[in-house]
């Protein structure tokens, strides 16, 4: 290990914080958790890029908001993030499940009751990880969760080892090799599996389409929509919102159907992506404190 490498584990995305979180879940008395989480949420406000990213996003989500109040709102975002990742690790380590309430359960039941596959489209909101694990436990349908790999190689290795704690009902696919993953996902959805993917962020190398979110130009991943069009399956917007300590609300929206209506495939995809952007806007507007996007979502905000 080079001398410059040892300290990387302590960077924000370094493996130390994952190990620390796991240690905390196994050792912190339950009644002390709010204090510990509040302290470390405050500590992470020192992470300048993350703090600034959230504050800039808030200026778009809440137009006219003041920087000083957005600073306190950023603490609320960090606080919620800390709770959701803690609940996620607690589920993986000890199978502790939160309280649940369902909103739009008819859409969720329709999705799980469909004979064929479908796509569950979510965002970096609430506990997307925990939601996927819970769906896998609650449903006999197999779920394939698509996610971007961790930036730090040690963190990526650590997370892959942790994924071995998953049961048979949940499989993880990483969107680094777009072409090969696309074929795998098409095969999976045609086999009746549910593909769970986050559709509010584009990673490098992934095909994207422009749309607007809170009046700012941004990019949305094209993959889920292209997959839905190719496989002729509906997309169900699903959000797992934290509504309190160990309490989550599963919000299921009406399905988005991606259909070939014209000869212009791009236009057909754009219709569906714009519909998704409107759904996302509505959810984020009511739950901005759970949208865990730590960099500006639009280049207009990054300037």
């Amino acid at each position: 290990m080079t001398q410059s490498a040892w300290w990387r584990r302590f960077l924000v995305r370094g493996v130390f914080w994952r190990q620390f979180l796991r240690w905390a879940v196994l050792n912190v008395p339950i009644w002390l958790e709010p204090v510990v989480i509040a302290f470390w949420s405050l500590f992470f406000l020192l992470w300048g890029p993350g703090r600034r990213g959230v504050m800039r996003n808030l200026t778009a989500i809440l137009p006219g908001s003041w920087a000083v109040t957005n600073f306190f709102r950023t603490f609320r975002v960090f606080w919620n993030y800390a709770w959701t990742i803690t609940d996620n690790v607690r589920f993986k380590e000890r199978r502790v499940v939160p309280d649940w309430e369902f909103e739009g359960s008819q859409h969720f039941e329709h999705m799980t009751g469909l004979p064929g596959g479908s796509i569950m489209l979510t965002a970096h909101m609430g506990s997307y990880d925990l939601g996927a694990h819970l769906f896998a436990e609650m449903s006999d349908r197999r779920i394939v969760m698509v996610r971007a790999p961790e930036i730090d190689p040690r963190t990526r290795e650590y997370e892959e080892r942790q994924q071995e704690l998953l049961g048979q009902g949940l499989r993880i696919g990483f969107n680094t090799r777009a072409e090969s993953l696309a074929f795998d996902l098409l095969e999976a959805v045609q086999a009746g599996e549910i593909i769970a993917v986050q559709g509010d962020r584009v990673t490098p190398g992934i095909a994207a389409y422009p749309t607007t979110l809170f009046g700012k130009r941004t990019l949305m991943p094209a993959g889920p929509f292209a997959l839905a069009m190719a496989a002729r399956v509906p997309i169900y917007p699903v959000f797992v919102m934290r509504s309190g300590r160990r309490r989550y609300r599963l919000v299921s929206g009406k399905p988005i159907r991606v259909e070939r209506r014209s000869r212009n495939r791009d236009e057909d995809l754009q219709i569906a992506i714009d519909e998704w952007a409107r759904d996302l806007e509505q959810v984020i507007r009511g739950g901005w404190f759970q949208w865990f996007t730590f960099e500006p979502y639009s280049e207009e905000l990054a300037a």
Partner: protein, 183 residues
Amino acid sequence: MNFVRDRADLRWLPSRHHFALARLVAYLILRFSGPRPQPGLALVVDRYQSQPEHYAMAIWATLTAGCYVVAVLNVWMPMWAAVLTAIIITGLIVQIPLFTIGALVLPLWERLTGAREQRHEKAISVAYMVLYLLASSYFVTRPGWVRYVAAFSLLVFAANAAAAVLMFLLRGAVRRLEQRCGI
């Protein structure tokens, strides 16, 4: 995991609470309130699930520790400076036993005894309670406002002990009530 469904009042199941005092309060609330239907709600029956209980404990622990820090610092600095310093450092001071016991003492003990245990939250929780009891027993003898804070903490400990006795005596009634609620 056990779930109960579609009733918001079942948040007050005693089995969803940990400390005896919280279990007693929950039992009394559930006993004397009526059902509140909430379709689509699924509540886990787990003794660490109660939000009011754990936030109340966290607030009590932080405010009590903060008061003791102020009382100690006030010996060397004016009250306003002691309060300001306590606001900044209490969050860190509260975690010192956690890291000392959880990251140093217990792993060292396990290395010496050959025990292999990854989870120590119960041992650490007991250690915290002992520390709070000792600190409160000391500060209740000190002059000034801090003795009222310490007295309140000791009262909470005594009330919890009394509640534990009551819950033992009511165990049959609690079990019947929970069975009627579906667990």
